[in-house]
Each structure stands twice: as structure tokens, then as C-alpha cells.
């Protein structure tokens, strides 16, 4: 999708503006563009589905919604080979350490999409004794896709937002994203793991 057709997210526009203002080296800037073009068109998800939302993610992979059109089709089962994690489903107490470990195992640069109201806030189970109230306290989240479950179209939109975000990032030099990630990990340490 041509970049000019995205007119609905001021947040990204602001990000782009900031980056432009701070000035980019011509060589590094062009390299960035090239790499980001490649990265943003082959975003590979980690198959991570705990419940209902995951089934809509399966539909997304099938012929009708066909996420292969956008270069996202290679859903990996190992975090080492994936670019982002589509958190589709409820995250409960027992799952939290596993989930965090999977996130830690993803190779940089890594992204997280919180898909569905359960991942965003705990959803219908918010008041339960065994459900985490949103994954934002556990890992940093890049895109939120609301819904219970979100329609496949909404998921496509969510992943598109993510590729868009990738496009404006600086891969070389001061990667503003990594800085934020460091802050987050420093604030949420895991015992015995060096981030």
C-alpha cells in the first residue's frame, strides 16, 4: 500500500516529522530506507495463540483473508525466527512467565501486537483471580487491536500499522525504539536474566 494513502494516524505522522527534523545522514538514511522496505514487507509472526482470538488468526492465514498477500504468511513456531508476536488470547498467571520468556527469546528488532480485549486489558475476565490485566505490564506493546475477537480485517489493519511503524524507524544509528525498550526492560527485570 503506498505510504500516501495512510492518513489516519497522527501518532506515526508525528514520529516521522520528528525523525525528519532531527536530520538524517544521506547514506545511512538511504540504507535505512532499503532495509526497512524489506523488513516491513516480510513481517513474520510467531504463532502464539492461547484462546479464541487465535482462531481468527488461523482464519487470517487461510485463503479468504490470506495474509500471504502482505508477506506475513510465514508463521513461525519458534520465537528465534519471528519478527513479532501476535498475542491473541487471554494471558493468565501461569502463562505470564512463559510469555515473557518467549518475548525475551525473540530476536531484535522485535514487536508485539496485543490482539483482542483480553490481551489489552483482561477483557471479559478482568475481574478474575487468575488473569493478567493486560500484557502491557509484562512486555512493551507496539500496536493494540481491539475486539473480542477482532475481525480478521482488523488484524490485517493492525499488522499494517506495525509495518508502517517499521518503515519510519531508523535501523542504523540512534534507534529511538531500542532506547524505549531498554527503559521498559530496566523497569521490569527478570531475576537472573541479563537484558
Amino acid at each position: 500500500m503506498p505510504y500516501g494513502e495512510w492518513k489516519d494516524n497522527e501518532y506515526i505522522e508525528k514520529l516521522v516529522q520528528e525523525l525528519r527534523d532531527s536530520g538524517t545522514n544521506v547514506v545511512v538514511g538511504s540504507l535505512d530506507k532499503l532495509i526497512n522496505w524489506g523488513r516491513s514487507n516480510s513481517v513474520w509472526p510467531l504463532t502464539f495463540a492461547t484462546s479464541c482470538c487465535g482462531i481468527e488468526f488461523v482464519s487470517l492465514g487461510a485463503a479468504r483473508f490470506d495474509m500471504a498477500r502482505f508477506g506475513w504468511e510465514v508463521a513461525r513456531s519458534s520465537p528465534r525466527q519471528a519478527d513479532f508476536m501476535m498475542v491473541a488470547g487471554t494471558i493468565v498467571h501461569r502463562m505470564v512467565p512463559v510469555f515473557r520468556r518467549l518475548y525475551d527469546q525473540l530476536a531484535e528488532p522485535k514487536y508485539v501486537i496485543a490482539c483482542g480485549s483480553c490481551a489489552i486489558s483482561g477483557g471479559p475476565f478482568r475481574k478474575s483471580y487468575h488473569v493478567a490485566k493486560g500484557i502491557e505490564d509484562i512486555v512493551p506493546v507496539d500496536v493494540f487491536v481491539p475486539g473480542c475477537p477482532p475481525r480478521p480485517e482488523a488484524m490485517i489493519y493492525g499488522i499494517m500499522q506495525l509495518s508502517r511503524k517499521m518503515k519510519v524507524e531508523r535501523f542504523f544509528g540512534g534507534v529511538n525504539r531500542q532506547e524505549k525498550l531498554k527503559d521498559f526492560l530496566a523497569a521490569h527485570p527478570v531475576e537472573g536474566v541479563e537484558d
Partner: protein
């Protein structure tokens, strides 16, 4: 029924019988084990299938209700066992030696209520961490999140389980037993694994490539639905039914609505009945289609998913037009259904039904007849009829073992008695039989739909029900058929607008419990074949 009561009275004179919609016998713990044995072994009673165990907290006492079924005579009986001992250490004698599935169910009751089952070979928590403080379904549970905080540190693991027993002088002893021996080689599979069908974890002890023992670890998606229901009004509890076994959303909704209607004495219109049954059967087709697709994908036949999802999408379209959603429909409501059918419903359903025979033929050519599929499925994971009953494996998996356990036939509800359909039963009990049972059930569901699609009666789709629904005090139990087997619901009401206790007995929990039994001796690659063929849904077993 009267002679059953007589017999129980002679077996155990101190028992009292209450008659709700299902008779409930109350006994104390001292007489329980002998009575259980008689109920199971006596050929006249023959309650061989344990449907579920409902843990209960009546604030002044704790206990458990064992619901059991004689599947030949279609009789259900509840036995309420009052726990002995103090609230700190309530005790019930285990029935794990009588019904094999009781081991698992009793663990669940222990996890939720802290009731210790004497002589149960595996008294560990089932869903919650080892170090969880308190028993969440007790009425006095302290839900303060600081006591059991969300932690990103890995939970403590243990290789030991506890066994409690009572010695001759009445004291309770606790011994530690090993789950795996020190020399065992244990491989961990899951919870994040593409072939476990969700977040289930198997601790698999292997000898070379042969599976020696499997310890199933659940709770990675335990959402505490039963406790949440106690804080919500009756209509509000309905939407959770969509989110357990999300393929049986309509069937589960139907079941809970029916239970509430039964308790409140509401009669619903014929039109609503027909719509509900049609939705149930459409769900069944969609569910079995997805099963075929994902199962073949597990075995490496990836393209099958695209063929089967084609039918599923067509069904989802039909549902979306009427219910407004692709999943989590929330369509059935107390008194009928939420909205009337879409104007194109009949035409759409017919168009779907017309494609089914061709599709099934295609699936069979692509997969069932394939020599690789045959080699991988035939004679793998054989479950005998006796074991299917003892482990409570119902649904297509149970029927593949020769056990006619279709609750639409055994416990007829709604308009099913009027419909003409066959119960698919196979005798082999292997993975292939389980697979084929599901394929053939699609045809049967289509048959039901053909009978109804032109006969949807006119009338109101939802009868008037009071805005604030209060159910009379009492208890109700019911078993219906979801897409994966017998779905039990227990309701206890204290006369208010909220359930005092709503127990959900899902079909997938016993199916996970049987994995250990039927994979022993097979290769580790067969674990995927066997687990997939049971077709469990993890959020359903964990709730």
C-alpha cells in the same frame, strides 16, 4: 426411579434422597466409598460413567457432588458427599479406584476447594501454581491481588506428588510419591508448541523414542469462569459460554439457556427451538471442518486447512448475517434467541448443504484414502470401550471406541427426539476411527439441517421473560452434547439473581486426562497424532 432409591436405602440406610430434576443422594464420608463401589459394580445400577464432580462450599460445610450415569438405561444420579474434618483440612475418601477419571476431577476439586481426597494417587493442584495461596472457589477466598500477584518469574516445579491416607487409628498421613523416577528421561512439550492444540503442556517421559509416561500440565489458560459467574446475574453469565469451547459457542449457550429456562419454568417457542438446533448443527459442521483442517496440518498435510476453512467461512457468513459476529455470537438468550433470522438464512443454508457431499468426497480423496495418513492413523492410540467409559471420554472420540454416548440420544433435549439422524459409532477406537467419526458426523448434521431448513415455523423468536430474573432455590443438573462431547452443567441457586454455584463440566478435560493412558508404548511422534485426534480445546478444559 423408586426402586433405585430403595436399593440405595438398603445399601446405605443413613442416606437421604432429594429429588430435584436429578435425584441427589446425600451420604457422609464413612459410607461413601462402599456405596460408590456398589453403584458402580452392581449390574442393576451400573453407574459406570462419572460425568463430573462438583465441589461445593455451603459456608458451614464443604463437600462434593458426584454425578454419575448409567449409559445403558439413561439414568443420572447425584451423590452428595459431605466432607469430614475441619475447614482447614476437609477430607473425603477418593473414588479414583472406582472411576479412573475421578483422579483428575478430584484434583480439580482440591485445587478449587482444598478438599483432600484420601487415597487419591495424585493430590496436586491442577490449574493453579503450587504456591498459590488459598482456594479460589471457597466463598471466603481473599481475592486481594497482592496475595497472589502476577509474576514473571517461572513457577516452582516439583517432581513429587502427595498421597493422603488414613491409618487405622484415624490419623491422616501424607506421603510424597515421585511422578518420575530419578533415572527417567523427561522431555517437556508445550505450552508453546504448534502441535499441542493450544497452551497445554506434556511432561513426557521417554525411553528412546517410546513414550513411557505423560504428565499433563494444565492451567495455562485457566480463566476462573466459574468464580466469575457467581458475581454476575444470570443473563450476564451467558457470554462466557462462547469463550470456552469457541467452536461449540451455540451449543453451550443453548445448554445454559435451557438450564435457566428449566429452573425458571420458562417455555420457549417452537421457532426458537428450531433456530437453536439449526445453529447447533451448523456449529458442529464448522467445528468438525476446522478439526479436519488443523489435524491434517498437524500431520503435515497443510493444504487441507484451506479446503476445510472454505466451508467454515461459508458457515460463519451465515451466522454473521443473523448473529452479527463471526465468533462469540452471544445469540441464544433466556427465552429464545436474541434476534430473528436473516431473510436469506434459508437460501444460504441450502446453498451450504448442497456443497457438503462434494466437499466430504474431496476430503476423503485428499486425505482419508492417502497411504501416509493410513499408516500414521490406523491402530495408533487405541482406546477400548471400557476405558473410554472409565476415563469419561465422550463425543466423537468416545463413539469411535464403540460407546454410544451421544447425549442428543441419551438425554434427549429440545427437538432432537423428533429428528431422524444416526449416531455414528465405530469400534476400532484408534485415531483413524476418531477422525472418520467426525467426518461422518458432518453428514449427519447436514441431514438434520435438511429436515429443518424448510420447516422453520412462524412465531415469536423470544418469549417475554422478567427483566430481573430470579430463580427459585434449588439445584439442577443437565448434560447436553457439545461438538466435542458431553457438556454438563450444575446450577445451585439460593433464590437470588445470581447463581450460588455454577459448575461447568467440559468434555475436553477427561480427553486430556486420557492422553497418558493411550500414548504409552507409542512413539513420541504419535503423541501428535493421538492428541490431535482427541480434538480437545484447551480453554474448554481449563475454563
Amino acid at each position: 426411579m423408586a426402586n433405585i432409591t430403595e436399593r440405595i436405602k438398603t445399601l446405605c440406610p443413613s442416606a437421604t434422597v432429594e429429588g430435584y430434576n436429578i435425584p441427589v443422594v446425600t451420604v457422609d464420608d464413612d459410607h461413601w466409598h462402599a456405596l460408590a463401589k456398589a453403584l458402580h459394580d452392581d449390574p442393576e445400577l451400573a453407574y459406570t460413567y462419572l460425568v463430573t464432580i462438583v465441589g461445593m462450599d455451603w459456608t458451614d460445610s464443604l463437600g462434593a457432588i458426584y454425578y454419575m450415569m448409567n449409559t445403558d438405561a439413561d439414568r443420572i444420579l447425584g451423590v452428595k458427599v459431605l466432607a469430614k474434618g475441619t475447614r482447614e483440612q476437609p477430607l473425603i475418601t477418593s473414588a479414583a479406584d472406582i472411576w479412573k477419571v475421578a483422579t483428575l476431577y478430584e484434583r480439580e476439586v482440591y485445587d478449587f476447594y482444598g478438599i483432600i481426597f484420601l487415597n487419591n494417587p495424585d493430590m496436586r493442584r491442577l490449574f493453579l501454581n503450587i504456591d498459590w495461596v488459598g482456594y479460589p472457589l471457597r466463598k471466603d477466598y481473599d481475592a486481594n491481588p497482592d496475595i497472589n500477584p502476577v509474576s514473571i518469574e517461572s513457577e516452582r516445579q516439583s517432581d513429587f506428588t502427595k498421597v493422603y491416607s488414613r491409618s487405622a487409628d484415624g490419623t491422616v498421613n501424607c506421603t510424597e510419591e515421585r511422578i518420575f523416577q530419578p533415572e527417567d528421561f523427561v522431555v517437556n512439550i508445550g505450552p508453546q508448541h504448534p502441535a499441542t492444540h493450544g497452551v497445554l503442556r506434556f511432561r513426557t517421559c521417554v525411553d528412546g523414542e517410546t513414550v513411557k509416561k505423560i504428565d499433563v500440565y494444565m492451567g495455562y489458560i485457566h480463566r476462573g469462569i466459574e468464580k466469575l459467574c457467581e458475581t454476575l446475574t444470570y443473563p450476564q453469565t451467558l457470554h462466557f459460554m462462547d469463550r470456552m469451547d469457541y467452536f461449540s459457542a451455540h451449543n453451550y449457550h443453548h445448554a445454559l439457556c435451557m438450564l435457566y429456562e428449566k429452573a425458571a419454568g420458562i417455555e420457549i417457542s417452537r421457532r426458537a427451538q428450531v433456530i437453536r438446533v439449526m445453529m447447533d448443527e451448523l456449529s458442529r459442521i464448522a467445528s468438525h471442518c476446522l478439526f479436519i483442517g488443523t489435524y491434517c496440518m498437524d500431520l503435515g498435510a497443510t493444504t487441507m486447512l484451506f479446503y476445510t476453512l472454505r466451508v467454515r467461512e461459508q458457515i460463519l457468513d451465515i451466522m454473521e448475517k443473523t448473529c452479527g459476529a463471526r465468533m462469540t455470537f452471544n445469540y441464544d438468550c433466556i427465552g429464545g434467541v436474541m434476534a430473528d433470522l436473516d431473510e436469506n438464512f434459508v437460501a444460504d443454508v441450502k446453498a451450504l448443504l448442497e456443497t457438503i457431499p462434494a466437499n466430504i468426497k474431496e476430503y476423503n480423496t485428499l486425505f482419508t484414502g492417502n497411504v501416509i495418513a493410513k499408516n500414521r492413523l490406523t491402530d495408533v492410540g487405541v482406546l477400548s470401550r471400557e476405558d473410554a467409559i472409565a476415563y469419561g471420554v465422550t463425543g466423537p472420540s468416545g463413539r469411535a471406541s464403540g460407546w454410544a454416548c451421544d447425549m442428543r440420544k441419551l438425554q434427549p433435549y429440545s427437538i432432537y427426539p423428533e429428528l431422524d439422524f444416526e449416531e455414528i459409532v465405530a469400534t476400532e477406537g484408534d485415531s483413524m476411527a476418531r477422525f472418520q467419526c467426525r467426518v461422518r458426523e458432518i453428514e449427519e448434521s447436514a441431514k438434520i439441517l435438511w429436515q429443518l431448513v424448510d420447516n422453520i415455523p412462524e412465531g415469536e423468536y423470544c418469549v417475554k421473560v422478567p427483566k430481573v430474573l430470579k430463580l427459585p432455590a434449588g439445584s439442577w443438573f443437565q448434560v447436553t452434547e457439545g461438538c466435542r462431547g458431553a457438556f454438563g452443567l450444575y446450577l445451585e441457586s439460593d433464590g437470588t439473581t445470581k447463581p450460588y454455584r455454577l459448575k461447568i463440566a467440559p468434555p475436553c478435560l477427561p480427553q486430556a486426562g486420557v492422553v497418558d493412558h493411550i500414548t504409552r508404548g507409542f512413539k513420541i511422534a504419535d503423541l501428535i497424532t493421538i492428541g490431535g485426534s482427541l480434538d480437545y480445546i484447551v480453554p474448554d478444559m481449563d475454563r
